[in-house]
């Protein structure tokens, strides 16, 4: 009972954040508990679940749009017809609509087309406003149509396009007219219209001229770049960037393409080609590393797959690989190599030391990764060796670039036995941290020794109550407490 209480209090008090604690001075920790209790007791009084609004379990109010989609779609997909249409998908038994020849001009998509699939000319459309494709215009006053054939200024044209109306751009023939049209669109900030006019310009202007004119029209330029990116016109896109001398962007954009290459060998080839692209100096190093890493991974992968299949290597038999190492990050690769290839000499591509050297992996990073890998294998000797340094006299000393408290954490996460743990807890320099860790992980020896060194008799006596009765620890505490040579501070 009492103990429960303590636990509860710990639960509600455990935040150590000063600026953000739940309790403050306020009227008691278990406010949430209180409301929970109230809620629970009320359950007995009222019928449950009769919420006013009807909710399906997923929480969608019945009748909401997403709920209805599920409902109505379900009822139809359940019919046998629905099922077999899935199977027939893509089969050629249904004649597809004839593909449009690409000879239609841009203006034709501003024109209407009747349902039977034949395109109408602009004049047809005018004489027959009853055709269905103009239905959207029906509620608009007739007057809107009256100026169909008249010459619109760029301004009028843009305004009509803004309202989603049919316009022919072909009339704008001279460069000056075309640019006026573009400038007008830019000045109304309507991206949709700007893009439509850019498509027209792209089709009717020479590339160099288009690029030159856009260079002094930044807004339009950005829209074209966005458009080319969206539509995947990579070549024109890169040409444009090159023309603008935005070489870094060219490089990155080309590099991005590697993501769509699935085959590792092809991806490697592609990355190799990327190395000479004009990246910024920092990025260039990373891209080079990316290539080298994949090259390495391909070699390791081929080798290890073979080893694993042959079934000769014990490590692969005991710990079969979960996934291929291809395209994994560098640190993951290092972990892999510390796991499967730890003892290999620096000469092999798969050895950890080789990786460390090739990619200039910092000591800290290396030790962390190696530690995690070796601890996972419970290879405590390797762990020990990782932190042992010899000085020139041959004395050994323990040293960790990451701090021994981190070492303890990692070992603990890999469920190292107390004997191993306490060896490293003992090496934690800060006394308080050491004591905390030792108590947390029940390294009694370390706790006892630390109190002895602190000459703290009270704490030692208190700790005696916490260890098991009749255990070796208790004996040890007793013998220390009875040691007359120690000058206790209390």
């Amino acid at each position: 009972m009492n103990r429960m209480k303590v636990d509860e209090e710990e639960y509600w008090h455990s935040s150590k954040c000063k600026a953000f604690t739940f309790d403050d001075d306020d009227d008691e920790l278990s406010q949430l508990k209180e409301s929970k209790r109230a809620v629970n007791s009320l359950r007995e009084i009222v019928d449950d679940d009769d919420d006013l609004e009807k909710f399906s379990w997923s929480g969608e109010p019945v009748g909401s749009i997403s709920w209805s989609i599920k409902e109505t779609a379900f009822s139809s997909s359940n019919t046998p017809e629905g099922r077999d249409s899935g199977l027939q998908k893509g089969s050629s038994s249904h004649p597809a609509l004839p593909k449009q020849a690409s000879s239609y001009s841009i203006s034709s998509f501003f024109k209407g087309r009747n349902k039977l699939g034949s395109f109408q000319s602009l004049s047809d459309a005018l004489s027959d406003t009853g055709v269905k494709s103009y239905a959207p215009e029906l509620r608009r006053p007739k007057a809107d149509y009256k100026d169909y054939s008249s010459d619109w200024s760029p301004k009028d044209t843009v305004r009509r396009m803004q309202r989603g109306k049919i316009c022919s751009l072909e009339r704008f023939r001279s460069l000056r007219e075309k640019l006026e049209l573009l400038d007008e669109a830019v000045s109304v900030h309507d991206g949709n219209v700007i893009t439509a006019i850019l498509i027209f310009l792209k089709r009717t202007l020479k590339r160099e001229i288009l690029f030159q004119e856009l260079e002094v029209r930044q807004v339009a330029l950005r829209h074209l770049i966005h458009f080319l990116k969206e539509t995947g016109e990579q070549k024109l896109f890169l040409d444009l960037l090159r023309f603008l001398d935005r070489t870094e962007e060219v490089a990155l954009s080309q590099y991005r393409e590697h993501l769509s290459i699935q085959d590792a060998e092809k991806r490697r080839e592609f990355l190799k080609g990327c190395i000479r692209l004009p990246f910024s100096s920092e990025d260039a190093v990373h891209v080079q590393d990316h290539y080298t890493l994949l090259e390495r991974q391909i070699i390791i992968e081929a080798n290890d797959r073979h080893l694993e299949a042959a079934g000769q290597s014990e490590i692969f038999r005991k710990y079969p690989r979960k996934a291929s190492i291809l395209n994994m990050p560098l640190v993951t690769t290092l972990f892999y190599s510390c796991f499967y290839h730890y003892t290999e000499g620096e000469g092999t591509f798969s050895s950890p030391t080789n990786l460390k050297k090739t990619f200039k992996i910092p000591d800290k990073q290396y030790v962390l990764t190696a530690l995690a890998a070796r601890a996972k294998l419970r290879a405590w000797h390797d762990v020990d060796a990782l932190f042992t340094t010899k000085n020139w006299l041959g004395y050994t000393k323990k040293r960790a670039p990451i701090g021994f408290h981190r070492v303890v954490e990692i070992l603990q996460r890999n469920s190292a036995p107390v004997q191993v743990l306490q060896e490293y807890v003992r090496l934690v320099e800060d006394v308080e941290t050491r004591l905390n860790l030792a108590m947390k992980y029940k390294c009694h020896d370390v706790v006892v020794d630390t109190y002895r060194d602190l000459k703290d008799r009270h704490q030692l006596m208190a700790y005696r109550c916490k260890v098991e009765r009749g255990s070796a620890e208790e004996d040890k505490i007793d013998s220390i407490l009875s040691n007359l040579q120690i000058r206790w501070k209390n």
């Binding site: 639960y11 406010q31 209180e34 449950d48 997403s66 498509i199």
Partner: protein
């Protein structure tokens, strides 16, 4: 229009029955500005389009739109207008449906056009009767998309191609959002102004409904653009000279890149934390089901539900309205007080002796049950959140954030960040921390920046070069160019860091981040009093121009303020706003001597995680 009036009467019918869908809009009219009118306008436009396609219909939905649409209309409205089936847009062939019209309701996106084309092309011409196709673009028709449909050879198959300008969607009585997820990326990375155009359009609609806004203030390049567009649109459509008495006094347009800091910090309000941890989408949140298992007697052994519990969160729920904007540390006490009140109310039944008293008790029961279930839900949510906020890692992360924001050790490699990388915490968390440090230091020193970059690329993969580049382009991550770090000056002048923060009974907006006062909201606060002239120097340090415009009102419409009447300011966040910032503005609205009430509009409701995510390169290979 018989069908429409029928719909109206059905609507009322639902309202009587309970909190049915019509009633769900009641919270929109609770604020200073009645946003129901905006919702009504949206519903009207939708009905008009549906009636244009005569006969029975099926709607094929762009899945992303169903959430926002749910805030405008429910299925019942569609059904009144002969929508019999609804599907989500998927590649392949359309499911069979015996309807006359197929309506595609989609965002103007090229990849969606390809799917639509596939649907149309694989339509079984032989077996199924001829169906009419229509396409409704939300919020804007796109010539680019129509071009794609044409390239695919299907453009001519559509009878109606129209747009449904769902620009600003009412989320709550004081909150509007365009829910345009890529707006920030488009504006600040790609310099595409389409979403700004949409914002300006949305503002024109608002002015058509609520009167011309006489004063416009702004800060930032995008703000300047939007103001320009509005002024131009007004000039070009003189028919729009409206005679509605203006409800808004002021419009404040703010660029998100004026304050990149606020979304990066962890929000500490109740609603903010729900969003940080579980993500709120279109007012809905999905929660782990364990804590919501129905605990009835005799059902102890039943299996736990495995599907997430979905809840709607808005001010229609009394309790939620009360706690959502509080610092999470103040939520517990409110919940416990509520619990006592409800318990007492239920106790009343023992005192009810006469038939009349019992009757009265019973009549209150539905309300009490609703309050009880609301309390149960929020107690569970608070417990879920508490499990996280009391974790060691949450604390460590928060400590580092607060150190950065208060200006401690922003110029060297941070140990905690390094540890997180070593332990391979989620990349987005790392990026949030590194960007926060960069913003709080006006950029990082070359050595520090290089170190972080190398660690990130080595641990998470080199392909993230692309993401890091995007963050640099957006200004979230940068090299300290000048030797001067401006952040401390900005912090001090604007009082962005408050050491003594009162979370229970706040007296300053800094409570929403337990110490940090969001810069964006400070700008709004200082604009109202004493005016931006007092911070000219700091305004110059922040990116983009600051400006003021006035829109002339006809003499009859000029406002004569009653004594003690508050001004109404619309704050429009271009590039997104967080729930914590919203909470801070609501706090200012409620201040007794504040003098200003705020309505908030934005391109998207964001948090640090989904914001950073929108800037990351999509690294998954294309599905094929």
């Amino acid at each position: 229009m018989a069908s429409e009036s029928f719909a109206e009467s059905r609507d009322r019918g639902c309202h009587v029955i309970g909190r049915a869908w019509r009633g769900m809009a009641a919270h929109l009219s609770s604020g200073r500005v009645n946003l129901t009118a905006l919702r009504e306008a949206g519903r009207r436009e939708l009905r008009e389009f549906l009636d244009k396609c005569a006969g029975s219909k099926a709607i094929v939905w762009d899945e992303y739109l169903t959430g926002p649409f749910g805030l405008i209309a429910q299925y019942s409205l569609l059904k009144e207008h002969e929508v019999e089936k609804m599907f989500t847009l998927k590649a392949g062939r359309l499911p069979p449906a015996d309807v006359k019209n197929i309506i595609f309701l989609v965002r103007p996106r090229l990849e969606l056009m390809d799917i639509i084309a596939e649907n149309v092309l694989s339509e079984d011409r032989v077996r199924s009767p001829l169906r009419d196709f229509h396409i409704l673009f939300v919020p804007r028709r796109s010539l680019l998309c129509e071009q794609r449909l044409k390239d695919q050879g299907v453009l001519g198959s559509f009878i109606h191609r129209e747009q449904y300008s769902l620009d600003l969607i009412p989320f709550d009585g004081d909150l509007l959002s365009m829910e345009s997820e890529s707006a920030f990326k488009e504006c600040y990375l790609e310099n595409d102004q389409t979403s700004l155009y949409q914002a300006a359009k949305g503002l024109m609609t608002l002015q058509a409904l609520y009167g011309t806004i006489p004063q416009i203030f702004g800060k930032g390049d995008c703000a300047r653009h939007v103001a320009n567009m509005m002024i131009r649109m007004k000039r070009e459509f003189p028919g729009g000279q409206n005679s509605i008495f203006p409800i808004f006094d002021t419009l404040l347009l703010l660029d998100r890149n004026v304050d990149l800091l606020s979304p990066l910090a962890t929000q500490l309000t109740y609603e903010g934390l729900i969003d940080e941890i579980y993500g709120i989408q279109n007012t809905y949140v999905k929660l782990p089901p364990e804590k919501f298992a129905p605990k009835k007697q005799g059902e102890g052994g039943k299996d736990l539900p495995t599907e997430p519990k979905k809840l709607q969160l808005n001010s229609a729920e009394e309790l939620y309205a009360e706690i959502r904007d509080k610092n999470f540390n103040a939520v517990g006490s409110v919940l416990s007080k509520k619990a006592k009140i409800i318990s007492a109310a239920f106790e009343e039944r023992h005192h009810a002796k006469t038939v009349g008293e019992i009757k009265q008790f019973v009549s209150q029961l539905p309300h009490m049950q609703a309050a009880r279930s609301s309390l149960a839900n929020h107690t569970s949510i608070a417990e879920l959140i508490k499990d996280i906020t009391t974790s060691e890692d949450f604390f460590d992360n928060l400590t580092v954030e607060q150190e950065f924001m208060s200006g401690i050790d922003t110029d060297k490699v941070n140990n905690y960040t390094e540890d997180c990388i070593a332990q391979k915490h989620p990349l987005i968390k790392i990026l949030r921390l590194v960007c926060l440090q960069s913003v709080c230091n006006s950029g990082l020193k070359q050595k520090v920046l290089d170190h972080y970059k190398r660690e990130i690329l080595q641990t998470y993969g080199y392909e993230h070069i692309l993401t890091l580049n995007n963050l640099e382009k957006a200004g979230l991550l940068k090299l300290q160019t000048s030797s001067r770090n401006n952040y401390p000056t900005i912090r001090k002048t604007m009082r962005l860091w408050m050491d003594d923060v009162n979370e229970q009974n706040p007296n300053d907006i800094s409570y929403v981040y337990s110490g940090y006062a969001p810069l964006s909201v400070r700008l709004a606060q200082l604009l109202a009093r004493p005016g931006w002239r007092s911070i000219e120097e700091v305004l110059k340090m922040l990116p983009g121009p600051h400006f003021e415009e006035r829109q002339q009102l006809p003499t009859g419409l000029q406002k004569k303020r009653q004594q003690g009447e508050n001004r109404v300011t619309l704050v429009f966040f271009l590039g997104g706003v967080t729930y914590a910032e919203i909470a801070a503005l609501r706090f200012l609205s409620q201040m007794e001597d504040g003098g200003t009430e705020y309505v908030i509009a934005t391109t998207k409701l964001i948090n640090g995680t989904n914001w950073i995510k929108s800037l990351m390169e999509k690294l998954e290979p294309p599905p094929f």
